[in-house]
């Protein structure tokens, strides 16, 4: 039997506000243990939580970017469970009146446009951090109370690759909104995955497992790929899938069932009496919506339309908001109508310099005007492409202007025909055989002769001009 994979993802996102969700402790992950805590986030008796305005704004931005409906009435609930990283013995979260519902995210997966439903995006708070020693576990409450968003997708994802593409698209949008670091390794973005299989064509969902402990997007993809194989083998041998939580072991490349099975979780949600309700005015939502930055999809469309970029090029450039802004400023500064030369430099030599140095495009800190000047030199054929790449490397290393580097290294191409003619005559004289084969119609011979001129000019001759001059001289045209 053939099976269809069905995946739903839950993403937890730390909002990068200055202070925690319900108290004024500064968020700073570098600080020593238990130095960023107060009676509120420690859950001491008699304290009163008050939600962070900025966190609510950020959350509404995210919800709007994912086309969710912001709910007019929203409230906080207590999710009750005991765990040492949770000092109050409940997490403040949202149950039946979440901030937003019914959104979607458009992704491109394996060349196809797909819409993934977003069930809900709600507000909650982070727990503390546990460090397990040999005889005891140590608790640091600095992270306790950091504002989180939970973004729950519909079970609309049908392959591990789609899950990966969903996550990269989601991260891309969040980065544009500038509301979170989105760093999975640092834990500012976490992802749990629900996965089940069903016979192809069936409408009913199969028994699912919940996967945790993945710390990269690739880890999510790998864990899901493993789980597809594991579940397929079980089903094909007539065994049942047990509904359980499984932990991804990245080292061994397997998922392992969690040992503690307390049966169904019973969180006994109830409205948090310490926090009053929120009524979100349409006017406020409109105001936030109008302040949203241009998102990657729109930016990509505009780049294609305004600057004549190919979809491929535009997609690369909008990968990061800062890079896209850097690229657009370069495109605007470039005087030519055809922007292709700049695009080629951005996603060619500049991007490879960035990759080599493990930096972003704008992280290279190349002066935009200097980059445009460099492209200008190449376009006017004043320097060769090869030299220009060397100039770029030096520009990054030394921060010197392009022109200065070109002059220092004597890189200007010789396009002056009188200077070139002398070399050309020499080459024609010394290469009788190739001259003759060109005259007999072997066009390859011309390339050889151009090469000889380039060699004698120490690479500085303009190959196009040389070719034209040679052709004219040999054909008498």
């Amino acid at each position: 039997m053939r099976y269809q994979t069905v995946i739903g993802l839950e993403v937890h996102l730390q909002l990068s506000t200055k202070t925690k969700a319900f108290c004024s402790c500064a968020i700073d992950f570098g600080r020593p243990p238990n130095s960023g805590v107060c009676p509120v986030c420690l859950g001491l008796p008699g304290t009163l939580p008050v939600y962070n305005k900025e966190a609510l704004n950020s959350a509404i931005k995210v919800a709007l970017a994912f086309s969710c409906q912001i709910q007019e009435h929203t409230k906080f609930d207590r999710k009750n469970y005991f765990y040492p990283d949770l000092p109050k013995n409940y997490q403040i979260s949202q149950f039946d009146l979440p901030l937003s519902r019914n959104g979607h995210l458009e992704i491109i997966s394996e060349g196809e446009l797909k819409r993934i439903g977003i069930t809900r995006i709600h507000l909650e708070e982070d727990a503390g951090k546990l460090i397990h020693g040999s005889n005891s576990s140590l608790v640091d409450f600095n992270r306790t109370g950091v504002p989180l968003l939970e973004i729950v997708s519909e079970p609309d994802i049908f392959s591990p690759q789609e899950a990966f593409d969903y996550l990269t698209t989601l991260k891309n949008i969040i980065e544009y909104l500038d509301v979170s670091d989105c760093d999975m390794e640092k834990g500012s973005l976490r992802c749990d995955a629900n996965i089940s299989l069903r016979p192809e064509g069936s409408k009913e969902l199969g028994v699912k497992t919940e996967l945790k402990n993945m710390n990269s997007f690739k880890g999510v993809k790998d864990a899901l790929t493993f789980e597809v194989i594991r579940q397929t083998e079980l089903l094909e041998s007539g065994q049942a899938i047990s509904q359980e939580t499984r932990l991804w072991d990245a080292g061994k490349g397997v998922t392992v069932a969690m040992r503690s099975k307390e049966g169904a979780k019973d969180y006994r949600y109830f409205p948090d009496p310490d926090l009053t309700v929120f009524v979100i005015e349409q006017e406020a939502v409109k105001r936030i919506k109008s302040g949203l930055p241009e998102l990657p999809k729109e930016k990509m469309r505009r780049f294609i339309k305004e600057y004549g970029l190919s979809e491929y090029d535009a997609k690369i450039l909008v990968n990061s908001r800062r890079d896209a802004e850097f690229a657009e400023e370069c495109l605007r500064m470039y005087p030519g109508k055809d922007k292709k030369p700049v695009v080629n430099w951005l996603i060619g030599p500049l991007l490879s310099e960035a990759n080599n140095r493990k930096l972003s495009l704008c992280g290279l800190k190349v002066d935009k005007q200097e980059l445009i000047n460099l492209v200008g030199f190449v376009e006017k054929q004043e320097i060769s492409n090869l030299s220009a790449k060397l100039v770029l490397t030096q520009m990054i290393d030394t921060r010197k202007p392009a022109e200065e580097i070109i002059k220092e290294n004597n890189m200007l191409q010789i396009s002056d025909s009188t200077k070139l003619e002398a070399i050309i005559l020499e080459v024609i004289r010394d290469n009788e055989k190739s001259v003759n084969s060109f005259k007999e119609g072997k066009t390859n011979a011309l390339m050889f002769l151009v090469g000889q001129v380039m060699k004698r000019s120490a690479g500085k001759a303009n190959p196009k001009v040389v070719g034209d001059l040679l052709k004219r001289r040999l054909t008498g045209a």
Partner: protein, 95 residues
């Protein structure tokens, strides 16, 4: 609404409370009475009443995102039954 011993045991477990047998009997009776008392509410007609999750007529209580001083680790750990360095120390958690 009837409440049986199993339910009381279950709720006690969720709350991490250990009950002696005589306490279990007593709580079973008391919870039964309390729930019965609350149950009177279901005889009311609330068709015209808007759902409420809070009794106070206020909403949108928010604070500015401005940091204030936190406690020192020593103060934060002052009431901890056990500490190791500046960490709270708890019995070892597996997984």
């Amino acid at each position: 609404m009837a409440i049986d011993k199993e339910t009381v045991k279950y709720v006690a477990h969720l709350a991490r409370i250990e009950l002696r047998p005589e306490e279990l009997d007593k709580l079973c009776r008391q919870l039964h009475d309390i729930l019965g008392f609350i149950d009177q509410l279901s005889s009311l007609d609330v068709k015209e009443v808007k759902p409420a999750s809070h009794i106070l007529p206020i909403c949108n209580v928010l604070r500015e995102d401005e940091p204030r001083k936190s406690l020192s680790p020593d103060k934060a750990l002052k009431n901890a039954p056990s500490r190791e360095g500046d960490f709270f120390s708890v019995p070892k958690i597996i997984e």
